[in-house]
């Protein structure tokens, strides 16, 4: 295992009578592909929220690249190089696909001159390449609201990738994608991540996807990791088979 890029240590968070994080810990090494699996309500999304600053833990800490980011805002953590896509895609629904991506590129470059119209964006070429990558080049001029959920999920991921993060959290990247296209999407995604040496942590319900694309699996239950190991170990683990794979899919 090479250097640790992110370390979440003993995170606790309780809200509304629910222990959403109960000693959640995870070490992520550079270039890993970690799949988080577990039943609904196990605290998977909460964990991502805690690591990316959307929620603040009541105790415990998150260290990214040697820096304590526990109390930082999502904005600050994003700027340090942590990207994120969402379970429900978080996009600018009334804008076109290209506007969504160009805004991300502007954010990355910090270029906000009021005299440079979107239409003449200096990073337009990169934007089209990115869209091509997720296979959505022909949707570029469509308004996001009009697109089906599966496409929105991919755009959401493309937006996160546009920021060139060192580490990306993806919350169910293939949930809206049809089962026939899942592998194709994941193949592309993995290629991009490999090419950019981007580390990835993703929540996934499809065990075939987990088996094929993760090199480590963390099983979430009750707000923390119950088991972790290689996909082979985990997917053959009798207890996991029963509690997660049997019920959670």
């Amino acid at each position: 295992m090479s250097g640790v890029i992110l370390e979440a240590d003993d995170l606790h968070l309780r809200f509304g009578g629910v222990q959403a994080a109960n000693g959640a810990s995870l070490k992520v090494a550079a270039n890993e592909r970690i799949a988080i699996i577990g039943p609904n309500g196990a605290g998977k999304t909460t964990f991502i929220n805690l690591c990316t600053g959307y929620l603040k833990p009541q105790s415990g800490r998150v260290v990214f690249n040697g820096q304590d980011v526990t109390r930082l805002s999502p904005r600050a953590i994003t700027r340090l190089g942590v990207g994120r896509s969402f379970q429900i895609p978080q996009l600018f629904l009334d804008n076109t696909v290209i506007d969504n991506l160009l805004l991300a590129l502007s954010a990355r470059e910090g270029s906000w001159s009021p005299f440079t119209p979107m239409l003449r964006h200096p990073k337009a070429e990169e934007m089209w390449a990115l869209l091509d990558l997720v296979g959505l080049k022909e949707t570029g001029n469509r308004i996001v609201r009009e697109l089906p959920e599966g496409m929105r999920k991919l755009i959401d991921i493309a937006v996160a990738l546009a920021l060139e993060p060192k580490l990306i959290f993806m919350d169910e990247p293939t949930s809206g994608v049809s089962s026939t296209e899942k592998f194709q999407v994941m193949d592309t995604l993995t290629r991009v991540l490999d090419a950019r040496a981007t580390t990835a942590v993703f929540v996934e319900h499809d065990m075939d996807v987990v088996a094929r694309y993760a090199n480590r699996v963390a099983v979430w239950a009750g707000g923390r990791i119950a088991h972790q190991g290689t996909p082979e170990e985990i997917l053959n683990h009798p207890e996991v088979r029963e509690t997660v794979i049997g019920v959670g899919v």
Binding site: T45, N49, Y54, L55, F86, Q87, I88, Q90
Partner: protein, 301 residues
């Protein structure tokens, strides 16, 4: 400073706070259920005040006994709530539920502009003064200072009754529980067979009636002039915001805070009395943007 001044200021603040509470709790209730901040809320207060004053003056002119003024105040408030409030909800608000917030704001703002002028047309621009109910109740002496029973006892009592009554209504009655259910999860409540449209309408009428009741009570203590609606709106919003929008008990505390703050200013720095509520609101929102009695809510991602 003399201690009786302090006492006088405190009693004044109590009376004033009671009044503002009535208006603010209506605003807060409507927001809690409908998710709309009703900019026209101040107009319900003003119209309630005018209708009540007109009723009381008419009683006097007809030579009827003064005690009849008290039921008149209540009837005026209910009438304004049902007729004006009901009309606004049915004709306009219904069409903007679930729309952009800014749109809802502008719609209620338009209603506000219409109602402000409607008052002038109906009641004229001459000041109304109908203090018969206040005089009829006489005065009480507190540590050597005479104070009107109306302001010292009746107004706080009404506020207290509304607070207790509202709590009871929301927690113990089936319709009150339906309101709470709709507030928490409209879809689930509808699935359970609750008629959300009816809950919205009745909540709006209750909220509007409370504002009108505040106005009706105030009508006996002060002369009514055009424009009282705008000031009251800001004040009641300040109270609701300080408490946290949708918080009923919190509104009582916040109203008292604003009432005391304002009357302290009236006694000790009269030129700044109008500034105090704004200042309290700004300070509270600066420290706790979600209000004093609310917990933070984050959007689910």
């Amino acid at each position: 400073m003399p201690p009786e001044m302090l006492l006088l200021a405190a009693l004044d603040g109590l009376a004033y706070g009671s009044l503002i509470f009535l208006v603010a709790v209506g605003l807060s209730l409507i927001f809690g259920v409908l998710g709309i901040v009703n900019v026209a809320h101040g107009s319900f207060y003003a119209i309630g005040a005018y209708v009540a004053a007109a009723g009381v003056l008419a009683l006097g002119a007809a030579g009827l006994p003064t005690w009849l003024a008290f039921p008149t105040l209540l009837i005026a408030a209910a009438l304004v709530g049902i007729l004006v409030g009901g009309l606004v909800e049915i004709a306009l608000l219904r069409r903007v539920y679930g729309k952009e917030e800014v749109l809802q704001l502008i719609v209620t703002f338009a209603v506000f502009m219409i109602l402000e002028d409607a008052q002038k047309v109906v009641f004229g621009v001459q000041p109304y003064f109908a203090n018969a109910p206040m005089n009829w109740l006489g005065t009480v002496e507190v540590f050597g200072i005479f104070y009107t029973t109306y302001q010292l006892i009746l107004m706080p009592l009404v506020a207290l009754a509304v607070l207790v009554g509202l709590r009871f209504f929301l927690r113990r009655t089936s319709f009150g529980r339906a309101i709470v259910a709709v507030t928490q999860d409209r879809e689930a409540a509808t699935a359970m067979g609750i008629d959300a449209a009816r809950v919205y309408l009745i909540t709006f009428i209750i909220g509007a009636s409370l504002a009108a009741l505040g106005g009706a009570l105030a009508s006996a203590t002060t002369s009514l002039t055009p424009g009282i609606g705008a000031g009251t709106l800001v004040l009641s919003f300040a109270v609701a915001a300080i408490a946290g929008l949708g918080r009923i008990e919190g509104a009582a505390v916040a109203a008292l805070l604003i009432g005391l703050g304002r009357s302290a200013a009236v006694y000790f720095a009269p030129e700044f009395d109008v500034l105090i509520p704004y200042l309290i609101m700004m300070v509270v929102l600066l420290v706790r943007p979600q209000g004093l009695f609310s917990t933070v809510q984050t959007r689910k991602v």
